[in-house]
Symmetry: C2
Amino acid sequence: MRLSELGELGLLRELERRGLVDRIADDAAVVGGLVVTQDALVEDVHFRLDWTSWRDLGYKAAAVNLSDLAASGAEPLGLVVSLGLRAETKAGDVIELYEGLNEPGVPVVGGDTTTAGSPLLSVTALGRSDRVPGRGGARPGDVLVVTGPLGASAAGFLSLENGLGSPLESAHRRPPLRLVEGRELARHAHAMLDLSDGLAADVGHLAERSGVRCVVDLDAVPVAPGVEEVANRLGRDAVEMACGFGEDYELLAALPEPAAHAVVGRCEVGSGVDLLRGGAPFALSGWEHFRAGRV
Amino acid sequence: MRLSELGELGLLRELERRGLVDRIADDAAVVGGLVVTQDALVEDVHFRLDWTSWRDLGYKAAAVNLSDLAASGAEPLGLVVSLGLRAETKAGDVIELYEGLNEPGVPVVGGDTTTAGSPLLSVTALGRSDRVPGRGGARPGDVLVVTGPLGASAAGFLSLENGLGSPLESAHRRPPLRLVEGRELARHAHAMLDLSDGLAADVGHLAERSGVRCVVDLDAVPVAPGVEEVANRLGRDAVEMACGFGEDYELLAALPEPAAHAVVGRCEVGSGVDLLRGGAPFALSGWEHFRAGRV
């Protein structure tokens, strides 16, 4: 079977079933008391150098890993960066990339630099957390909250793709850092993850790991300012952009009681996900590697 | 300036000078009490899928990172693996890759899986060490030792390249694990690193970081059995293959006194490297990314 048929999640399930990897689908692993997270960014899959500056690319590579630490309630300690570059790359571009990597204020403490035919970055973030909620602890009765409005990254991406010049393009290049919110939520959350694949997909990961049914009221999802305008210009649906695209890097948490964040749904006994719009079921999927190509 | 002119080491020096990265040229970083090392393997730079099985590729990706832990005197705790794969990759191949990654017995505890136009692996190894010798502590009067014979990987690579069918091809695919030796040496070594770029280059890294002059007697370097034969068949020099190619993944240590390992040289007051053959200076360089292309 090819990965295109099995999909990323099918592959991870098969590797776990065989005991070849432990909890690879989680945001972060805990090793020797540290929280460890790793993400690879590959040209033409995760970024296009004609759409992003080297500095923004570095920032985003750091931010998406720090987002996994945020979802683990962790205080970041350092980044380890592996970089694959063409030999004809300008040294000034690499310096800008490292300036972007350093911008969130977490030191780059090591890594590897290598030749590659196509640029790639692999970033490992290390941190310390008093309590990692994980994805598997949500219980029936929990409310589901998100830490901020969604859809800005999707709108920015579609603006870039269609040459609209929306100010949200910068939201696609520079995701938010939710480290403070993550540490605060981690004290009480039964489960938490960051929204990298889109709320529709990510809430499914939480439901599956926790063994609960997640009911999400799409009408309650906060949509970022400006998303509606991009949606209108492209004849698309703002809620689908906010919940079906991903790369928002806000946090989704299951809490025993409401908090100072937007409540978008609740957990119930059962399995799977109900997305409701105007009270009626609504079909929407998120992002999964190998099944389709983004960018 | 392009990376092809600046070279990997020039780039790292420039990034350090600007405070954008700390000690990236070291084998491993120490973060929150853990030793962390990361290496990226890129198709057609570090491996060719027509030369290696998926299982051997997984083994080598784990081994080269565990080699950095060995050079840090660390006990390994876990591996984090990021994998970029084409959507048409067979799931069975990926399972074999993970079987190889698991073979050294260190659990794979997390990571990331993503689509990529060209396969790549980024492995982070985490471990705990009572004492990390580092590269910068060698002192005049130290002896330089290596933990095993060199050149088998070079001979295996050249055999693959020239279709010689040498049994050393497996040495190129499956580097040794020197974790036990590394922990033992770390108790006394003033400096230690693993031989990934070739003794000629790696001893230079040790000399530069330590501020000493390294004098290496190439006649004292143990050459692996079978290397001479491959060298003869190709009209090449076995000592150059053993000291100028890399990927041996034996350890090089600077010790205050001789140990149960082969002594290949000594540290003196000064800077730079003297390679001696038959008592006379001998010119030989090792591997540096961006300056040339291997494979």
